[in-house]
Amino acid sequence: MTKITLGKGINAGLRAAMEADPKVVVMGEDIGKLGGVFRVTEGLQKDFGEDRVIDTPLAESGIIGTAVGLALRGYRPVCEIQFDGFVFPAYDQIINQVAKMHYRSMGKIKMPVVIRIPYGGGIGAVEHHSESPEALFAHVNGLKVVTCGDPVDAYWMIQQAIASDDPVVFFEPKRRYHEKAELDESVPPALPLHQAKVVREGADATLLCYGPMVKTCVQAAEAAVEDGRNLEVVDLRTISPFDLPTIFASVKKTGRAVVVHEATLSFGPGSEIAARVSEECFYHLEAPVLRVTGFDTPYPPSRMEEEYLPDLDRVLDGVDRVMGY
C-alpha cells in the first residue's frame, strides 16, 4: 500500500507496462530527461533507455504517424501529446490512419496505440493549455476514449489502455495530477477499462461525470446532503464507447440525471448521454436530462476560468433544476 498522486499513478502504470512487455515504447516531446512537462514519465528514460522512451522532434503529426509505423512493426507505442490544444497537428493521422486501420484492413491490422493527452482547465494556463476536446475524438469511430478520475484508476487504466489492441485516446485530468490516494498494486483492478464506476450511491438524482469533474461532483453530492438530497455519482471513465448499462441502471433508479463536463455544451458528451437516456429510460424519467458544462465559447482567458468551469455551486444549481420538475 503506497500513497500516490494521479500523475505518479500513471507513471507507475507506464513503468509496469514497460516491464511487462518489451514492445511498449513511450514517445513524445520532453518526456525523456525532463520526464515530461508534468513529470508523468519521470525516470522512465533512465531505466528503459532512449530507444524505448523517445524524445521526439517537436512535431505532433510525426509522433502519431511514426507511432502507426511502430505499431505496424509490432510495437505498442504510448504517445504523449504535451497539452490538449497541441493535438490538432496530429488530428489527421489519428482520424484517418490510427482510427481506420483496423476497419479498412478488415481486421488484419491492429493499432495498439495509446495517445495520452493532459486535458482540462483550472490551472491558470495560457490559451491552448486548458481545453477539453474529448468529444472531437469520441465522434471518431475506431477510437476508444477514456479518462481517469482518481489515482488508482490512473494506475490501472493506463495499463489496460496499453494492453488494448484498439487505439485508445487517454485523457488525463491535469488539474488532478496531484490528487492523492492509497494504491495497493497487488489488488487487481476492480473494473475492466470500459466500465463505468458508481463512486457514490444515492437515490434522488444521478450526477454523470468523468475526469476532473469526478471530484467536483463527489463534493457537490456531499454538500447536497445538507439540503436533504442523496445524489448518486457515476464516474463514466470511458467516453467512447459509453458504458450504457451502468448509466441506464442509475438513471432508472433515480429518475433524474445531470451530466457534468468541462467540455463545451453543444455536441458535447452530455448531448449523446441525454439522447441515449431519453431513448432507454423514457418512462423512468422524472425530468429531462440536464447538462452542467463549459460554455459554447473558446476556452476563456484564465482569470475567467473559474466562472467558465462547472464547480460545486453550478452542479448544485443543476441538481436544483432537475429536482424542480
Partner: protein
C-alpha cells in the same frame, strides 16, 4: 559575402541563389541515367547497373505486364466496373526499378498508384482493384508481401514508413552479412505534390534525427492533378534532402536500369545502418491523375508528345533488340502473357462479391462494441423486413 572567415556563419547561411526552374525541359535536367531513351547504355561515375541482360529482360516483362494490367483497369473503369482508377502509365521504370531492388525483408509503404511495386512484391493485381471497385478498402494483408495498404491521404504513409523503420532499428535488424546488406530497410513512395505536405517534411526530420533505415522514393511525375511542379518547389526536389541532413539523388525515372541502381544503393545504405536517402525519380504522368481527371484542361499535348519519346518501355525494347539479340518471339510472348493476365483480371474483377454492410460493423474495433452490435442488429432487422417483398 561568400568568402568564409572565422566567426562568420558557414556558407549554408549565405543568400540562396534561385536555381533553375524545376519545370525545366527534361533534356536539361541532370540526373543519373544508365540507358538513354534511344536504348544505349551509358556510364555514370557513381552508379552502375551490374546485372545481366536476363535481368533486363525480366524488367522489360515486368513493365509491359504492369502497363497491360493498368490499361485493363482503366478500361474497367470506363465500362463502369471500377469507380476510379489511378493510372501508373509512364512511371513503370520508376516503380519496377525500385521495386526489383528490394530484398525479401524490406517493407514498402505505397501511395495509391504503386501498382508496379505491388507487382514486384507479389501482390495479386486483383487485390488492387477492390479499393477502386468499392468492395473493400485494401484486401491484402501487408505482412504477406511486405506491402502496406494503399494510402490515399497524401504523404501520410511517409511517417508510417519512418516509424516502421524505427521499429526495424529497435529490432536490431540493421547491418550484418556482406557489407551490412543482410539488414532490412523500408521504402516510402510519394509524389511531387506530397513533397509539400507537412507529414513528408516531418518524416524527413524524424528519419534524419533517428537515422532510420528508410528510403524516400519520390516519383516526380511533374503534375499534382492540375498543378505543375513549380507550384510545389523552387528547387529540384532531391536537393531538399541536404537541408534535412541526408543524401538526395535525382534519377531518370524512365530508365529502369538507373532507378534500379540508385534504389539498390540507397536501400543498401539504409540496411547497413547509414540512414535515409531521398530519391527523386524524374518522370512524367502520361495519363490523367485518375480516371476522373481531364488533363487537356491544364497541360499541353506537345508536352505529352515530348515525353512519349522518353518512354520507359520503348528504350528497353530498343536495347534488347539491338544489343542483346532478343527477337520478336520474346516480345510477342510477353504481350500474349499480358493479354492473358488482363483477361483473368477482368474476369476476377467482375466476380468480386459485393460486400455486405453488416459484415463491416465488426471491424471497427477488435471486439464489436455493444453500441455497434445494437446498430448492426437493428439494421439487419430493418433489412430483413423487406424479405419476401417485390
Amino acid at each position: 559575402m561568400s568568402e568564409s572567415v572565422p566567426g562568420t556563419p558557414p556558407e549554408v547561411f549565405a543568400p540562396v541563389e534561385v536555381p533553375v526552374s524545376p519545370a525545366q525541359p527534361p533534356e536539361e535536367v541532370e540526373f543519373v541515367q544508365l540507358l538513354t531513351p534511344e536504348g544505349e547504355r551509358v556510364e555514370h561515375p557513381d552508379y552502375s547497373f551490374d546485372l545481366d541482360d536476363e535481368a533486363i529482360k525480366g524488367f522489360y516483362r515486368d513493365m509491359v505486364l504492369v502497363r497491360r494490367i493498368d490499361a485493363e483497369a482503366t478500361a474497367l473503369q470506363r465500362q463502369g466496373e471500377l469507380g476510379l482508377w489511378a493510372s501508373l502509365l509512364g512511371q513503370e521504370a520508376a516503380q519496377i526499378g525500385s521495386g526489383r531492388a528490394l530484398n525479401a525483408k524490406d517493407m514498402v509503404f505505397p501511395t495509391y498508384r504503386e501498382h508496379g511495386v505491388a507487382w514486384c512484391q507479389g501482390v495479386n493485381p486483383l487485390n488492387l482493384l477492390g479499393l477502386f471497385r468499392g468492395v473493400d478498402q485494401g484486401a491484402w494483408d501487408p505482412k504477406d508481401n511486405n506491402f502496406h495498404l494503399y494510402t490515399i491521404v497524401i504523404g501520410a504513409q511517409t511517417l508510417h514508413a519512418t516509424g516502421y523503420a524505427m521499429g526495424q532499428q529497435r529490432d536490431g535488424v540493421l547491418g550484418g552479412g556482406v557489407d551490412g546488406d543482410a539488414g532490412e530497410a523500408t521504402i516510402a513512395y510519394f509524389g511531387d505534390g506530397a513533397s509539400s505536405q507537412g507529414d513528408v517534411n516531418e518524416a524527413f526530420i524524424y528519419a534524419s534525427v533517428f537515422n532510420a533505415p528508410v528510403v524516400f522514393f519520390c516519383q516526380n511525375n511533374q503534375w499534382a492533378i492540375s498543378e505543375p511542379i513549380d507550384r510545389q518547389t523552387r528547387i529540384p526536389l532531391y536537393q531538399r534532402a541536404a537541408g534535412f541532413g541526408f543524401p538526395g539523388v535525382r534519377v531518370d525515372g524512365n530508365d529502369v536500369l538507373a532507378t534500379y541502381a540508385v534504389s539498390q544503393q540507397a536501400l543498401k545504405r539504409a540496411r547497413e545502418g547509414s540512414g535515409p536517402t531521398l530519391i527523386e525519380a524524374y518522370t512524367y504522368r502520361m495519363g490523367a491523375h485518375t480516371t476522373s481527371d481531364d488533363p487537356t484542361k491544364y497541360r499541353l499535348n506537345e508536352d505529352l508528345e515530348h515525353w512519349k519519346l522518353k518512354d520507359p518501355i520503348e528504350r528497353v525494347h530498343a536495347y534488347l533488340s539491338r544489343h542483346a539479340g532478343v527477337d520478336h518471339d520474346f516480345f510477342d510472348e510477353i504481350d500474349a502473357e499480358g493479354d492473358k493476365i488482363a483477361a483473368e483480371l477482368r474476369a476476377g474483377c467482375l466476380a468480386l462479391p459485393d460486400p455486405q454492410l453488416t459484415d463491416f460493423f465488426q471491424h471497427v474495433y477488435v471486439e464489436e462494441t455493444p453500441q455497434l452490435a445494437e446498430q448492426r442488429a437493428q439494421y439487419a432487422a430493418y433489412a430483413a423486413s423487406f424479405d419476401g417483398e417485390g
